[in-house]
Amino acid sequence: MKTRIPQLIILFALTLGVAPLLVLLVESGGAIHIETTIFSVLAFTLEQAALSTLLSVVPGITVARALARQNFAGRQLLLALFALPMAVPAIVAVLGVTALIGNAGVLPGLISPYGLAGILIVHVFFNFPMATRLFYQALQSAPQEAYKLAAQLGFSESATFWQVEWPLLKIALPQVAAIIFLLCAASFVAVLTLGGASATTLEVAIYQSLRMDFDPPRALALCLLQVALCTALIGFAQAAFAQDRGFGILRATRFRYAAQSKVALAADWFTITLGTVIVLPVLGVILWRGMSHLHFTALTWRGLGTSLCLAFASATLALILGRPLAKARDSASRVLSLSGLIMPPAVLATGWFLVLHKLGDSLALTACFIIALNSLIALPYVVAALRARQMQLAAFANLQSNLGISGFNAWRIVEWPLLRSATTQAFLMALVLSLGDLTAITLLGSSGILTLPTLLHNEMGHYRGADAEGTALLLLLICGGLTFAAQKLGQRDA
């Protein structure tokens, strides 16, 4: 059963992207002029990405832990709201943040969003809730008995954390941190729009050499630099967090038994409040501004239909490729699962185009390009959402073979009940991400394909900023609905 088909498919897709540029690089004699300014570019890229990761992961863990310990009425709703930032196009988030703390914002002069602070705020808005959801899911995958036992043995809170919770968090941590780091390193719109001209990241430099200078060999050289750097960092992170085996469980956590001290209770609620303060105001601004501009024209319906089709296709493909990758324990698979974030999409799209444009420029081909690129970008999230549970499943392998359960029965009795909520979460993340995506379609050319984000972009480009606010809200509402549905689906007992 040890097939490596998904790995090979991804490797093939990457090769298809890089090879044509490599040919150009060799043809150009390998003479690439890279300025010394690249070092300051690298330094800035790493600095803001590292800070963004730290500011998303640490609060992500604390808030996830607080949410896991406090069972209250609005918890599911809050977690559903935390799924939404992923769907927000970068410029909408930027405008949301400036509406709060910008010059014309609600709280002007609190912190200026123009500069590193603004970049970090937008990055934390995107990534902290995503991290919280993934860590929360990891914590919920502890066996019910572990918490019961901890309570019976009178474990202190810190002992429960180190003995029960930390091993679970550790499974998710490297992948989550890597995703956030890579996303922020590659962030473009937020970095330029808030950071201004002096904020140049490696991604901006790559984009510049592909766009302004039309110098694919140089772009490839910069891209290889990015790949080398990211792979090294990921390898380091994985070595630092050696993986434990997951618990083998049949019932996921429902209750916590340990009595909680008042201090712990207060601390949890403080953390949860702080978490909502990071996420909800920006979503609130989008809701508030969009409400009076929500509009439904023929274009809206067309955009909505196309967006849903493309997103469902991308998410399905990401899930098909992602499941085996979540099972794989070798470091090559780990790096491959992150390749959609490591490889600059502009480079991939250029390479693919060079190879495949001869097949024609039909709508179908463009749609396939978009689906392929989106599923590659969504893959890291899918793997992150599935990994903890896949590890648990591995713990059942012996039991399963002793009992002689295999094939469909194994899937029905063991795998699906265990994977159900993680799978819906994975699918949802990929879906929401693809719904909000503008990268693929911008890079590949739209050829009549109208999605909600391209509609938003068109409206902004034609002075229709107010309409764009309505479209942004619609996108958010759709994603909210899907998230809610996914939560219901994921929770239903098998």
Binding site: L95, N103, H457, Y463
Partner: protein, 330 residues
Amino acid sequence: MKKLILTLFVTAIFSLPAAAKDVLTIYTYDSFAGDYGPGKAVKAAFEKICDCEINYVALGDGVAVLNRLKLEGNETKADVVLGLDTNLTAEAQATGLFGKHGVDVKQALVPGGWSDDTFLPFDYGYFAVVYNSEMMKNPPKSLDELVNGDASQKIVLEDPRASTPGLGLMLWMKQIYGDKAADAWKKLKPRILTTAASWDDAYALFTKGEAPMVFSYVTSPAYHMEVEKTDKYQAANFAEGHYLQIEVAGLIEVSPHKTLAQKFMAFVLTPDFQNEIPATNWMMPAAKTSTPLPAAFDKLVKPAKTLLYLPEEVAAHRREWIDEWQKAMN
């Protein structure tokens, strides 16, 4: 549910109109081809007279269109290219892909006249600093006043590496300050609220009131006057003159539909095409229209002097000037 969506998806792909007629493929930027742009009306008007079908391939902007052509080379599927500007035509010419348009250039009415026999202008616009008159009572009257003015009155700019207007301002500064452009950028720096990745992003920050000024077009206020019925957004008239952007069309020499492409090029300067430009692309028409311009166009700033580099100069120096700008901004 998934099945339903798959079915919808497949139908969406295969329900494309079967191409019985000749298809003229036009590469253009997405805000031209998009549903709010002039593309729709232009397509309808041309299809009435050509017994053909127009197929737009929409890319991000003029630069993206040119890059697509460079990637495809002789295998390009474009018959006509619409939406390069004069900052790109030298490079476009160098690809060797473009043929002569064969249209009488005297019909083109653009500042400074037109003589290029490969590219044909379809619209033009002057760049300008647009300001919010409710936030700013004394807008700068020259580029020099902008550069040396009150640093607490901010402006939102676009990045010349990623945006056409951004490149426009860089060239404008170069025209006025020459060798001293880097110093001028350093002086301007404290006035810059931020440098956005695109015109859309910059303009959104401006209309949200984040800054009293934005770098845009002389024609921008016309939209607000015509559609939103407000004259609070105005363009500042600069004493040194304004930098010009001329958008052009060209035909692909090796196109199998060259006759059709030539017919389209002739169509570009006719009123049926030009009438659509002012109120959808919010630019100035490059030839006579048969309907009068929207009333707000009369109230727009009329630049005293036109500033424009030759395409060859831009092609030769752009990289070096962008490096200079980048160093000054760091």
